[in-house]
């Protein structure tokens, strides 16, 4: 049972790769590199020392933009959800900013930070801040009155109420929000690197095309983006599990 559930996706993966190969080989025009050419492309990037360098560059920007956004947006959002009048005041403003694609901020971020890491990190920060703030705001508002009242009834101070009732109440929602937002940040870093910097996986894709139509390297870059995105998501998911385990332990101590 367990084996077959792992075998099925592997089989589909192999079949699609074969179909890709067959389609490229049988067609007259070369619209895509073959899977093997992509593998060779990745090997070439690794050999030239670019693979690690670009992956690290992209992860560096995502980490900074995402971490700063999380540190600012979560307390901000929780505060708004906690003090409902604050939410009523700020929410319309957030809702206007929300539909603006982070990519629309590219000109302004370049104007403010110049071409370079600063602009790319700022874009990721922007892309992460609003979803995180809205998630935290909703999570803060969804804390049940019965739980807050029970906490007060047992004589908790305001600080204890935040640590022992608010924080555990909002944590599950926050972790889901962090996971989704990290996915968004990873999408945005690629776009930011296409325009604002000259390193990273996004830059690799644009550069490989501009410098001699190396579509094997373009697809190699895309594949790396997909793989790392998958790893990031898996990491966030295991973090969610860890946190739940930690509650269990804290509760029984």
């Amino acid at each position: 049972m367990r084996n077959s559930s792992k075998l099925l996706p592997l089989g589909v993966f192999a079949a699609l790769t074969l179909a890709w190969h067959a389609a490229v080989v049988s067609s007259e025009q070369r619209l895509l590199p073959t899977p093997w050419e992509v593998v060779l492309g990745i090997a070439e990037l690794a050999q030239r020392g670019l693979l690690i360098k670009y992956v690290v560059a992209s992860l560096f920007r995502v980490t900074w933009g995402f971490a700063v956004a999380a540190l600012l947006a979560i307390p901000f959002g929780l505060f708004l959800g906690w003090y409902r009048r604050g939410e009523a005041a700020v929410n319309p403003f957030l809702q206007i900013l929300r539909p603006i694609s982070p990519l629309a901020w590219i000109p302004i971020s370049i104007l403010w930070f110049g071409v370079g890491d600063g602009a790319a990190i700022y874009l990721i920060f922007l892309a992460s801040f609003l979803p995180l703030a809205v998630t935290a705001m909703n999570a803060g508002r969804n804390v049940l009155d019965v739980h807050l009242n029970a906490g007060r009834n047992f004589g908790l101070s305001q600080t204890q109420l935040i640590l022992r009732v608010l924080y555990p109440s909002v944590l599950p929602q926050l972790i889901v929000g962090l996971r989704i937002t990290l996915g968004i940040a990873w999408l945005v870093v690629v776009a930011a690197e296409m325009i604002a910097v000259n390193s990273g996986l996004g830059f690799l894709i644009v550069d490989a095309r501009n410098a001699g139509n190396r579509y094997d390297l373009v697809v190699a870059g895309m594949l790396m983006i997909g793989l790392i995105g998958l790893l990031l998501d898996a990491g966030m998911r295991s973090l969610a599990n860890l946190k739940i385990l930690r509650w269990g332990r804290a509760a029984s101590s």
Binding site: L144, V146, H147, N149, A150, R152, N153, F154, G155, Q160, R164, V165, P168, S169, L171, W247, G248, A250, A251, S252
Partner: protein, 269 residues
Amino acid sequence: MGPRRLELTLDHCVSYPASNSTKLCVSGVNKTFRRDGKSVHVLEDIDLTVREGEFVCILGPSGCGKSTLLNIVGGFTTATSGRVEIDGEPVRGPDPRRIFVFQERGVFPWLTVEGNISFGLFKLPKHERERRVSHYVHMVGLKGFEQSYPHELSGGMKQRLEVARALAVNPDMLFLDEPFGALDSITRLLMRGELLRIWQAERKTILFVTHDIDESVQLADRVVVMSARPATIRTIIDIDIPHPRELSSRRYLELRDGLLDEIGLAHKV
């Protein structure tokens, strides 16, 4: 502030002087909510005295304001006018000496049974905390479920867990707001028996809000019957049957029928 002087002379807590056994005194309490620019008068001139160790049910139709009264006594809401005193002191807010039991959704889902029961015991040393947790786990029949989370428990077990969490801090009053309303009728009957057993063992003063006439006759020393909004106290009925109560005894049926009449319900379905 002219009327204030007049109010004092009519003060329930003063005109029936607090004897040693008076636990709670509610005097001239009014509550008006402002909602969408309209004001809703919920409670009107409520006077009530509850003795130490007494089990009092507040009975009234749904939405009449009996929960509001309980919230005022519990310190979660303030009265628009009037006085609420417990042990001769005005109520200024929620207090660990008086625990409010909500319906079963009041337990903390992120804590185990043990974590929930010890929630209010953070000021006690570890061994005392453990002693109380095991005592109350046993008392409410949750032995073997110490490490379970609320979502792994039935509705009745969650309700008992919340009662255990309340009792663990050794309060001298319990406020229960339709605590068994969400349970099936069999579990509800069992829970009433358990609550009475706990009350007889621990002798807490209990204020129990319900809209269930049978429940009030089974549990209470006295039943406070409230009218529809704005709620006033229509009457207070003494339930003079010793525990355990025979549910088909003549006196039980008399008292129940009396309450049915008082609330204005027919004796037929």
